[in-house]
C-alpha cells in the first residue's frame, strides 16, 4: 500500500484525467482526448477503465469489477486486486453494495442507483472508425453532425441479412447530438444506457479517449422506422436460476452438441439462486 501513491497514478496524471472526465460530462457523448499513461497491464486489459477508476476512487469506495458480467474471470480478479492493493478500497461482488463498478462489455442486470459510478473499458471509442479510418475525418464528421455513413452501414446490414445484424457495440445517439460507441456491450444492454441514475464514464486507454454520460441522459439506439431497434437475447431461460429477463451466455457442455444457457451476470444469477430460484440445469 505504501509503495504506491493512492490509486497508483501520480497526482498530476489524476488531475489531467479528472479534467477530461468533467469535460466529458459537460458534453455527453463527445470523446475527450487525454494523455493515457502506460499501466502495469497490457492494452486491451482495461487500461482506460483502470485510469478512470483510479481518478474517481476515494478510500471510502466499495469497488466491483465485472468482465462480460462475471466477477470471477482473470481480468476482473486482477483489476479488483490491483485497486485493493494500491487504493486500499473495499471490494464486493454485489452490484447494489458497490459505489464504483468497472465493467468490460456488460451493464449489470440490477438497476443502478444514484451515488454509483459505472466505468466502462472501451477498446475502440470511435463509432465511425471502421467506416472511416482517418481521425481527421471522423472528427470533422462529429463536428458537422455528419452521421449518414452510420445509417448506411445499418442499412447495408438490412439489405444483406434482412435485419440489423449489429449485435454489440450498437451505436447510440446522445441527447440528439453525438453518435457514441457504448463499448462492446450486447445491444440487449443498450436500453439501460439512457435515463440511468448512475454516472457512466468510458475510458479507452490505447486510443486515449474519455467520454461520459451524466445520469438521466437521453440515449437513443440508431434505427429505422420500418426496422426499429430491438434489444435481443437468446430465447431461453437461465439454466441455473431460471431467469427469463437476463442476458445469457451459451455454454457448450459436452462433445455431443449439448449446451446450456446461463446468466452472464454472475452476481444476479447467484443472488437469484440464493433466493431459491432454480433453472432446469441446476444441480
Amino acid at each position: 500500500m505504501t509503495e504506491y501513491n493512492f490509486a497508483y497514478l501520480d497526482e498530476q496524471t489524476k488531475r489531467m484525467i479528472r479534467r477530461a472526465i468533467l469535460k466529458g460530462l459537460t458534453i455527453p457523448g463527445y470523446q475527450v482526448p487525454f494523455a493515457s499513461r502506460e499501466m502495469p497491464m497490457p492494452y486491451g486489459w482495461g487500461t482506460g477503465g483502470v485510469q478512470v477508476s483510479a481518478a474517481v476512487l476515494t478510500p471510502k469506495d466499495t469497488f466491483k469489477v465485472i468482465d462480460q458480467g462475471a466477477d470471477d474471470t482473470t481480468n476482473a480478479v486482477s483489476i479488483r486486486t490491483f485497486f485493493q492493493r494500491t487504493a486500499g478500497v473495499a471490494t464486493t461482488t454485489a452490484t447494489s453494495d458497490a459505489t464504483v463498478i468497472q465493467t468490460r462489455h456488460r451493464i449489470p442486470e440490477e438497476p443502478l442507483h444514484e451515488g454509483q459510478i459505472l466505468v466502462y473499458q472501451v477498446p475502440i471509442p470511435e463509432p465511425l472508425r471502421f467506416l472511416e479510418p482517418r481521425e481527421s475525418e471522423t472528427r470533422k464528421m462529429h463536428s458537422l453532425e455528419e452521421y449518414g455513413l452510420m445509417h448506411v452501414k445499418l442499412y447495408e446490414d438490412i439489405s444483406r441479412h434482412g435485419h440489423i445484424a449489429t449485435s454489440y457495440a450498437y451505436p447510440v445517439k446522445v441527447e440528439g447530438r453525438y453518435v457514441m460507441d457504448p463499448s462492446p456491450i450486447p445491444k440487449f444492454d443498450n436500453p439501460k444506457l439512457g435515463d440511468m441514475a448512475a454516472i457512466q464514464l468510458f475510458g479507452a486507454g490505447r486510443e486515449q479517449r474519455i467520454y461520459a454520460l451524466p445520469p438521466y441522459t437521453q440515449v437513443v439506439s440508431l434505427d429505422f422506422e420500418d426496422h426499429p431497434f430491438e434489444a435481443s437475447k437468446a430465447d431461453h431461460p437461465c439454466g441455473m436460476c431460471g431467469a427469463t429477463d437476463s442476458y445469457l451466455d451459451e455454454l457448450i457442455i459436452d462433445d455431443l452438441g449439448g449446451r446450456m444457457f446461463v446468466c452472464s451476470d454472475t452476481d444476479y444469477c447467484e443472488a437469484r439462486q440464493a433466493a431459491g430460484h432454480k433453472g432446469k440445469d441446476a444441480a
Binding site: R18, T26, P59, P214, P215, T217
Partner: protein, 200 residues
C-alpha cells in the same frame, strides 16, 4: 512570503483531492445539486470551496484567470505555491476565478472549437449564497428538473445555444459548490425568482 501562503493546502493531497473531485464530479454530473467540499483553507478572498476546486483541478498545465477582487497578491501567491498554475488573461484561460460581475463579459472566454469543444474555459464563480431555489434547470444529469440560485438567467441561456461549444460553470460558496454545464437548459421559474435574482 506570508505564512498563510504556505498553509491551507491539502494535508493529504491524494485522498483529499480524491474526495474533493468526487464532489466536483457529482456537482457537474447533476447540475443544480449542491455538494459539500472540504480540505482547503485558502486566504481571503478565496472561499474554502474555491480553494479545494482549484487544488483539485489546477496545476502547471492549466492557465488561470483571476478576475476583479480575486486578482490580489494573497490569491496569486497561494495559487502559485500550491498549484504552480500560470496566470493569464481571460482569452487564454482554462479556469476563470471570480465573482459573477467581475467575470463579465462572457464573450471573451474560449468556448472550444467545433472539432474540440472540450477546449473551453470553466468559470468558477464565487457566490455570496448558494441555494436550491431560483432558476429552473433541465437537461442531462437532471431527473425531472432542478432549481439553483443563479446570478442571472440570460447569460446561461445564451451559453446553452452554443452547445456543444460553450462555457461550464462551478459555483462556490463557503464549503459548498454546485455546477452548471453547457448542456443545461435554464429558465426563469417564477416572478419571485426574478425578483430574487435581481436583488442579489
Amino acid at each position: 512570503m506570508q505564512a498563510n501562503t504556505l498553509s491551507g493546502g491539502f494535508a493529504d493531497p491524494a485522498t483529499q483531492s480524491a474526495h474533493a473531485f468526487r464532489s466536483v464530479m457529482e456537482a457537474m454530473a447533476r447540475p443544480g445539486a449542491i455538494q459539500d467540499i472540504h480540505g482547503a483553507a485558502p486566504p481571503a478572498p478565496l472561499s474554502p470551496a474555491m480553494g479545494a476546486v482549484l487544488l483539485t483541478l489546477c496545476d502547471t498545465e492549466t492557465p488561470i484567470y483571476l478576475a476583479g477582487d480575486m486578482d490580489c497578491e494573497a490569491a496569486r501567491a497561494w495559487l502559485a505555491f500550491h498549484t504552480g498554475a500560470p496566470f493569464v488573461g481571460p482569452a487564454q484561460c482554462m479556469f476563470a476565478v471570480g465573482k459573477w460581475d467581475a467575470l463579465a463579459p462572457l464573450s471573451v472566454y474560449p468556448i472550444g472549437t467545433s472539432e474540440y469543444p472540450d477546449r473551453s474555459a470553466t468559470l468558477i464563480v464565487e457566490c455570496s449564497e448558494l441555494a436550491a431555489s431560483g432558476a429552473t434547470l433541465t437537461g442531462p444529469g437532471i431527473k425531472d428538473q432542478a432549481t439553483l440560485s443563479l446570478p442571472e438567467v440570460d447569460a446561461f441561456q445564451d451559453n446553452r445555444t452554443l452547445f456543444p461549444l460553450g462555457l461550464d460553470f462551478i459555483f462556490t460558496c463557503g464549503e459548498r459548490l454546485a455546477a452548471l454545464p453547457r448542456s443545461t437548459e435554464v429558465s426563469r421559474s417564477s416572478s419571485e425568482a426574478i425578483a430574487q435574482v435581481g436583488a442579489s
